[in-house]
Symmetry: C2
């Protein structure tokens, strides 16, 4: 049986997550967002997985979807509000040590980032790579794409332009601290 490349990637992903870190990147971010909501610091959620429902049956107590297909997302996975600002980001991981392959981001996701920035929102990627979680701002991603023809972002660029996100117990990944540093420096925290 032949699987399309995105399925192979999914398998690879699960393998990194469970083998090396014990916890899925998505879970880590969901837990962090849950904590941010608990302490009322930010209201950020993961969007549900986009699917096309094709068959629904009626069970005893509820409707059950019996056939549905995964759709390619045209936006990023997480969005919400922080300090009055619109926040829109995604989380990606790679086993590659020297560069982050741009194939990890769909073309319309890049367009979406561009639009969010133009409309005054904050957009970024959280990239898990070389055992660290990097914050890479949409502006730096867009600059790279517009100025280089490469198919992947070198790790040196991520190290240079990005920021290492502090790992904690609560929240697991304190990415809002990076936003404070980059976007809300005037604020008294």
């Amino acid at each position: 049986m032949q699987y399309p490349s995105n399925i192979k990637k999914d398998y690879a992903k699960k393998n990194i997550s469970y083998a090396n870190r014990g916890m899925d990147l998505e879970d880590i971010i969901n837990q962090s967002n849950e904590y941010y909501r608990e302490i009322n610091r930010a209201i950020i959620y993961k969007k549900p997985t986009p699917i096309t429902i094709s068959e629904v049956k009626y069970g005893n107590k509820e409707r059950i979807i019996t056939k549905a297909y995964f759709r390619t997302p045209s936006t990023l996975d997480y969005n919400g509000i922080y300090k009055g600002k619109y926040i829109d980001f995604d989380a990606k991981e790679t086993l590659n040590h020297s560069a982050f392959p741009l194939a990890n981001i769909h073309e319309h996701q890049l367009d979406h980032m561009r639009k969010i920035v133009l409309h005054g929102g904050i957009s970024f990627l959280i990239i898990y790579m070389n055992q660290e979680y990097y914050y890479l701002d949409a502006n730096d991603i867009i600059f790279f794409i517009d100025n280089y023809t490469r198919k992947s972002i070198p790790f040196t660029y991520i190290e240079d332009k990005g920021k290492i996100i502090p790992k904690k117990i609560k929240p697991r990944l304190d990415y809002l601290n990076i936003l404070d540093e980059l976007y809300f420096k005037e604020d008294d925290r």
Copy 2:
């Protein structure tokens, strides 16, 4: 066979939509948002339906979900950015002529609206009722809930505090004009 009340409501919904208006409220809002994105006025999307996937099979070319359940949403259906502001809203309809039953909004959706407003975002409902689409701001909904013990918002309150949304060809429902009026009056459009 017994269906829970939310399924009955779904049936009622489809009946209003297809019988009386030819187009689903959700479709009307999706088309309006698509148009707003096309002309680059706002970046607003409907969130995918929240589901819990319990079985996935591998077909010839793609993964097929063979069992999944609908989840109760804890946020509102639509969110995005307009003029730099975080926007978060939902669309509801009722056949009731004299009042909008608050049972149409889940408790955690009300909490969510409250939080969005506190964090500096704009939240509202689009209510289709008595052949018109009404914009009702989260602040007016919260005020009503905090000050009255009624289980439904009287139509007179919606007429008084809400705004009728203009129906057009493009966008079908020009709800951002109401935001301009309420939140961006200083702007030169």
